[in-house]
């Protein structure tokens, strides 16, 4: 697999889209027919994905209007979807950061998130957080758990990178991917040994289903508030960090061209480790919220959540932080609509079908990818 070499320039998204279209056009099998088919293709590539995304909400919104006369059920789905999506967005950030910097699908990331849910679950027991804990103790306890889960997942992610990916830095691209799949299985088995093969229910510490207020017929519960209250600050801190701080600049430089970055005196290995650390921190935070919000932990949950989050990252445009958050929210909504209308058992299949469609119609994602190959 070899696209263009590292280019090192960072053109605006317009140019990028132009370039990727040119690259697509230069694939020999597609040369030839120009004119009408070409413009049709660019139309599909630009609006096809958005059209596909709108199918589910529009179809169910229409049937709701026919049957019940208002859209409150759809709106509730979307609200739940946004809360769910906030968790996915945090996990998706880990995928997108890592992909942006070393072009690796960190397949084990979903399972790092799972370990985060397990750490949270275990630590609730350790510090004795129960349903009877008072509000002050609860807030303090949850804060400590949040920090612990974040640090645990961050450290784990860094260790995985050190052991499995760093030795393969110059190997063909499939080698680290296979190692990542291997690590995913190892982590799943760690989870299996830790809490056993069945679902474990987490005490509903925050009383997540309790309704706080209602907006236009849509009930907003405590769990929703928690998901949003943890995600939004984290995302803003992360974005500010990457834009402003020195190491954030180093991350972006390494993402664009590792060799040039090394020449500029950036320690590439440290920067990559740091990227894994940040991804792991986000996964840990997502782990705690998920444990509180879903009140259920399971060793296999990381696999599905990881794939959903990866889909989200691709949908937004891999390597693109805003894209990961947007994609996470959209996938959360799709997941919720499908859970509620089609059946929970079909949700993974539907999201995967979306993944395939995204990659067919718009592999660069909604907001455009930011990787070396895309320029």
């Amino acid at each position: 697999m070899s696209g263009g070499g590292p280019t090192g320039s960072a053109p605006a998204s317009q140019q990028r889209a132009e370039k990727s279209r040119m690259e697509a056009a230069s694939v020999p099998a597609r040369a030839g027919r120009r004119g009408l088919t070409d413009s049709a293709r660019s139309f599909i590539s630009r609006y096809g994905l958005i059209g596909i995304l709108l199918i589910l909400p529009v179809a169910f919104g229409y049937s709701d209007l026919q049957r019940e006369g208002d859209l409150s059920r759809l709106a509730t789905n979307l609200k739940d979807g946004l809360s769910n999506g906030a968790i996915l967005a945090l996990v998706a950030l880990g995928y997108t950061l890592v992909y942006g910097i070393i072009e690796l699908i960190n397949f084990a990331h979903g399972d790092v998130f799972m370990i985060g849910t397990f750490v949270s679950f275990g630590f609730f027991g350790t510090i004795g957080l129960t349903l009877a804990t008072g509000p002050l103790g609860l807030v303090l306890g949850l804060l400590v758990t949040l920090i612990l889960a974040m640090v645990a997942c961050g450290t784990l992610n860094v260790m995985i990178e050190r052991v499995a990916y760093r030795p393969l830095r110059n190997a063909p691209r499939l080698a680290p991917l296979v190692a990542a799949v291997g690590f995913s299985f190892i982590l799943q088995n760690v989870g299996l040994l830790w809490l056993g093969g069945s679902h474990r229910s987490v005490p509903d510490l925050i009383n997540s289903q309790k309704q706080l207020f209602e907006v236009a017929g849509v009930p907003v519960s405590q769990g929703d508030i928690l998901a949003v209250a943890v995600t939004i600050p984290l995302v803003f801190v992360l974005a500010g960090f990457i834009v402003r701080s020195r190491i954030g600049k180093a991350m972006r430089a390494t993402a664009q061209d590792p060799d040039a970055a090394r020449l500029m005196g950036i320690n590439v290995d440290t920067t990559i480790s740091f990227t894994f650390l940040v991804g792991g921190l986000m996964a840990g935070a997502a782990g705690l919220i998920s444990a509180l919000y879903q009140t259920d932990v399971w060793f296999f949950a990381g696999f599905t959540a990881g794939l959903l989050a990866f889909t989200a990252a691709v949908m937004g445009g891999i390597g693109n932080l805003k894209g990961a958050v947007l994609g996470g929210l959209i996938i959360g909504c799709i997941q919720q609509i499908s859970d509620n209308r089609i059946g929970t058992e079909w949700t993974p299949a539907i999201v995967f079908a979306y993944l395939v469609l995204i990659l067919v119609f718009r592999p660069q994602g909604l907001l455009g990818e930011q990787t070396r190959e895309a320029g």
């Binding site: 499995a164 499939l174 291997g182």
Partner: protein
């Protein structure tokens, strides 16, 4: 100088000697494999596990075409196992009770309701279905980068797996027909029935073994011939450098789709054999971990190396069916740990994948070209790298 070269054997001579030597070795191995079941009881566990191992050889060689030859990482190979297995589940069992179709089956089956076709027809059907599914899977991945291909194939495998599990009440929430019988599975499945071969029963496993052996040999032969063919060289060219291959006139679309289809067909044929051999087509068989299991065989043996993959498949299959459940299972309790080792099977395979990738990415019996590529790194980045 002249004398020195004259005394040494010419390279052609050396190649010929090597070919004869490997031919003798191959004949010896095949002969041993053919008489192997006579050393054991006809219904013994060894013969049973060996048959499974041989079918895994077929699967792994199919995956080897996609991953090893063409360099397209396929994480959804289980889909073809599933399609092959459902082919025999649908067309050689009483699943469709209202139908009454019998072609080339023994008299006792001819009276049962359902569709009952002879195994030879089934494997042709399975190969056709899976080849089609392989092309269908390949089509969206053509323009994608290597690691996106892996994810699309994984998604495809999961969609098929989900459909298998939930397909007893409609598909994707539409309709309420029973397509797969879900976790209950389609059972019993007709036993294989071949002309001129003794009866296939659960007590006499030898005919199963020999059928699997013949299938494995045919697939090895196909693999060798394909590797050395124009198409095989095109696959390797695409794997090494897609742009260069295209500019040399290799048709990318056709080459890649043929890799998917050929690999898929082998998985499908193996799947339909397993459907009959296990006597059930059960949705729980079609999990992601199965894809990884087969991938681990290919990687353990050596990507692209046919003999390596055969060794890898036999080794891992025996580790899975014998070593972990029978031999190593008391180890944790002996050292004072309390867990069931069979639970850890896939953790062990995951560990194996990581270890192989880090320590010996070219596999146990590496293909020469791969070995150079992996150990010296013919990566595009090396062009820019300044070595101290």
């Amino acid at each position: 100088m002249m004398e020195a070269t004259a005394q040494r054997k010419s390279p052609l001579d050396r190649l010929r000697r090597r070919a004869t030597r490997s031919a003798i070795a191959a004949v010896a191995v095949i002969a041993f494999a053919a008489i192997f079941p006579f050393f054991f009881d006809a219904g013994s566990g060894v013969v049973e596990d060996s048959t499974t191992a041989l079918i895994f050889v077929v699967m792994a060689l199919g995956l080897n075409i996609v991953v090893g030859f063409a360099g397209l990482l396929d994480l959804g190979y289980v889909a073809f196992f599933a399609i092959g297995a459902y082919t025999i589940g649908w067309f050689a069992s009483g699943f469709f009770t209202n139908q009454d179709i019998h072609i080339g089956v023994a008299s006792q089956l001819a009276e049962l309701p359902g569709i009952h076709l002879n195994f030879l027809i089934i494997i042709v059907l399975a190969a056709v279905f899976t080849a089609f599914a392989g092309a269908l899977l390949g089509a969206p991945t053509l323009r994608l980068r290597g690691d996106y291909i892996a994810i699309v194939t994984l998604a495809f495998g999961e969609i098929i797996g989900r459909t298998a599990v939930n397909g007893d009440e409609g598909v994707f929430g539409i309709g309420s027909f029973n397509l797969t019988n879900g976790r209950r599975g389609i059972t019993p499945v007709d036993k294989i029935d071949l002309p001129l071969v003794e009866q296939f029963t659960t007590l006499n496993l030898r005919p199963w073994y020999w059928t699997a052996l013949v299938m494995a040999l045919v697939v090895v032969l196909i693999n060798v011939r394909l590797r050395d063919s124009r198409l095989g060289r095109a696959w390797i060219a695409v794997r090494e450098d897609e742009v260069a291959a295209a500019s040399m006139g290799v048709p990318l679309v056709r080459t890649k789709l043929l890799a998917y289809s050929t690999g898929a067909a082998m998985g499908g044929v193996a799947g339909s054999f397993l459907g009959s051999y296990f006597n059930t087509v059960n949705a729980d068989q079609f999990e992601f971990s199965f894809s990884i299991f087969v991938l681990a065989m290919v990687i353990l043996g050596g990507l692209g190396s046919i003999w390596g993959v055969v060794v890898g498949a036999v080794t891992l299959s025996f580790i899975n069916t014998r070593l972990i459940p029978d031999v190593l299972n008391d180890v944790p309790s002996k050292v004072g740990l309390d867990f069931d080792l069979t639970q850890l099977g896939f953790g062990i395979f995951g560990f194996l994948l990581v270890i192989m990738m880090v320590l010996r990415p070219e596999g146990l019996i590496p293909e020469r070209r791969r070995k150079i590529e992996l150990t010296e790194g013919l990566d595009e980045d090396t062009v820019y790298e300044v070595r101290a």
